[in-house]
Amino acid sequence: MSKTQSPRGLTRRELLSQTTALGASFVVGAGFIASGDAAWAMETTSLKPETFATLVQLARDIYPHDKVGDEYYVVAVKGYDTADAAPGIEAGIAALNAAAQGMGNASYLDTAWERDRVDILRGMENSAFFQQIRGGLVTGLYNQKAVWPIFGYEGSSFEFGGYIDRGFNDINWL
């Protein structure tokens, strides 16, 4: 997770002192976003930190895995933090916030219950923006080798001699 370590060598205390809370899970500072417990942080270069925080929450709401930490969702969407991609993402997140406001919430991130955020997403699931984010996550999230062990998937096996001596038929509960 070297790319999502605390920026500029901030200590956890310093980092938290420079941020404001955003929604339930994130804090943002000038040009960076961090988890609420400061376990990870990332600088943004093209996206507003608030936009990136919303994007991470959106990613989790599309493919929610309670056992997968935010840092993996951050990796899955950080490719959108580029000059080329940013305008489309800012517009998409603005539309998402507008939809949240239309349902009486201050913003998407301030919509506290997942079921309410999912209602917002159901209303826009056919949009190009939603499909862009969802489609990108299929590989962006699930093709991260660091994620695989969380699901028990073992990945490449040839270099270990396959499973012929490593449990290809070890099921014991049938």
């Binding site: 699931e125 299929v138 093709n143 028990g152 073992e154 096996s157 499973y163 290809f168 049938l174």
Partner: protein
């Protein structure tokens, strides 16, 4: 030992494509002393090059040139630019295939006679039958080292098979075993025994699975009679004023257009590229494309009735470990119209890695219904359904002149609508597949929709009568005596079985025919 042949050498047989059809045909002809130039659009990938990683391997091997789709099949919605998961490589899709090697059942060679009139289906009997194919199947099984044939032992069952077998037996199915697989099951041969690595679809790094790419092609080259030209994309087949083919134009690895003369041309580019090439070769003499006087080129595209059933249990299975498809239930493969459909289907074990499971379990789905399934990935078992689909004239490969490939050639559009018989069979199979897993305590099952097609059949179908199809019983086009088709596109009907063994058997048989015709001076 690779034989170099001159572009102007008009004594060679040109084979287009090096997969189960073209790769085998090239080797078999070379073994008989026939000079062959094999033109392959893809590059060479050997076992040491293969990658135990689903997406990286997909990028390495899959045919990703543009194609378009239409019709009511869900693939057209979920994967609109990727109608098929097939391979662009020396060896073609035999690099990727799972190895399931089944003979057609006797009645399946005569589908029209066996099933009677099925509304909307263009069923036809093959001009060959089980008795005629028997010796060619035996040769194919020996070539591929198919388990449970020729005295070869079966593969051991992996975790996914054990769940599948226990469920099948609990449900009362009788015929369940680890399959007839073109994967070496003993150390008694020159091929490495299966090491239960998984990743059969990504190319076997042990070479334990048969592939034309590193078995037949290498054997053919060793004779000195076969030259394989990788990264050579054939654009057009040429003909003379007598209506005989004289050679082919192709783009070489550097993108330069070359012309190779030929005595005979054999097309084996699969059920999309073969009809595409015939249609793209239209001329003033053949304005509708080569070998198309019947109007049948591109029609009757079949992809098998497919689907998958995955199940979650309350304990680990780890189904990705071991041979991907070594498990089969054949009880439902019979023709028994009392089930509400004609023809039958096989159930075969299948596992996907986490990345492909995310992409294929329920394409487009999101939210907790979907992710709670993936959360149980370690506790999943899975099977694939493969059954006979009905040929329909309107299921069709056509040229899409709006979309061009990197050479400026029109790409194919693949149109497919499910036939009511396909839908009835799929629903039956979903129910039976779920019952197999429920019988051993599944907590949840998933009737998973078809993936991009791996079994692509028809589109140049074989027929007794020239008005009904494109090729005769030898794969020779009805219209042009020195133009042959040598791949799964010649299938008259699809049968319930994975098609590779039949494609290989037909290619061995065609090589025998071609060598005879050549030595008799008929070509």
């Amino acid at each position: 030992m690779t034989a170099p042949f001159d572009l102007s050498d008009d004594s060679v047989v040109v084979v287009i494509g090096t997969g189960a059809g073209g790769g085998v045909l090239s080797n078999e002809l070379a073994q008989k002393g026939v000079k062959v130039v094999a033109l392959e659009a893809g590059g060479r990938h050997l076992p040491q090059d293969f990658i135990n990683d689903e997406w990286d391997s997909f990028g390495q091997l899959a045919w990703l040139d543009p194609r378009t789709t239409s019709g009511d099949w869900r693939v057209s919605k979920d994967f609109s630019g990727l109608p098929a998961w097939i391979v662009k490589s020396v060896g073609g899709t035999t690099q990727h295939w799972a190895g399931a090697s089944l003979r057609f059942q006797e009645h399946e060679w005569k589908a029209a006679s066996s099933y009677g009139n099925v509304q909307g289906a263009s069923l036809l009997d093959w001009p060959i039958d089980a008795a005629e194919m028997d010796p060619w199947y035996s040769k194919a099984e020996d070539k591929l080292h198919v388990t449970r044939t020729g005295g070869r032992p079966g593969l051991p069952g992996n975790n996914n098979f054990k769940v599948f077998e226990a469920g099948a037996k609990a449900l009362g199915y009788k015929d369940v075993h680890t399959g007839r697989m073109a994967i070496s099951s003993s150390d008694d041969t020159d091929r490495t025994m299966c090491q239960q690595t998984g990743f059969c679809f990504q190319g076997c790094k042990w070479g334990a699975k048969w592939s034309a790419g590193y078995h037949d092609i290498e054997q053919g080259e060793a004779t000195g009679n076969l030259e394989v030209r990788p990264q050579s994309h054939v654009a057009r087949i040429l003909h003379n004023d007598e209506g005989k083919v004289t050679g082919v134009e192709y783009f070489d690895a550097d993108g330069n257009l070359q012309m190779q003369k030929a005595r005979v041309v054999c097309v084996a580019g699969n059920s999309f590229e073969s009809p595409r090439l015939l249609l793209n070769s239209a001329s003033s003499m053949f304005p509708d494309g080569l070998a198309n006087s019947s109007g049948q080129v591109g029609r009757n595209y079949m992809r098998h009735m497919t689907g998958s059933v995955y199940a979650v249990f309350d304990k680990p299975v780890r189904f990705w470990r071991g041979t991907t498809m070594a498990g089969i239930i054949t009880d439902e493969a019979r023709h028994d119209p009392s089930r509400g459909f004609v023809g039958g289907y096989e159930l075969e074990t299948l596992a996907l890695g986490l990345p492909f499971m995310a992409a294929f379990l329920d394409p487009g789905a999101w939210g907790r219904e979907f992710t709670s399934a993936l959360d149980e990935y370690e506790n999943m078992a899975g099977m694939w359904i493969v059954g006979e689909d009905m040929p329909q004239e309107t299921n069709r490969v056509t040229l899409n002149h709006e979309v061009k490939d990197q050479y400026g050639l029109p790409v194919v559009n693949v149109h497919f609508d499910d036939h009511p018989n396909d839908i009835a069979m799929r629903n039956h199979a979903y129910k039976q597949g779920a019952a197999v897993y429920d019988a051993v305590g599944a907590t949840r099952t998933f009737p998973t929709p078809p993936y991009p097609s791996t079994h692509n059949l028809g589109t140049n179908r074989m027929s007794e009568n020239a008005r009904d199809g494109v090729v005769n019983k030898w794969g020779r086009t009805h219209d042009i005596p020195n133009l042959y088709i040598s791949d799964g596109s010649v299938f008259t009907t699809g049968a319930a079985e994975n098609p590779t063994l039949t494609i290989v058997a037909l290619a061995i048989r065609q090589a025998d025919h071609l060598a005879s015709e050549l030595s008799a001076g008929n070509l």
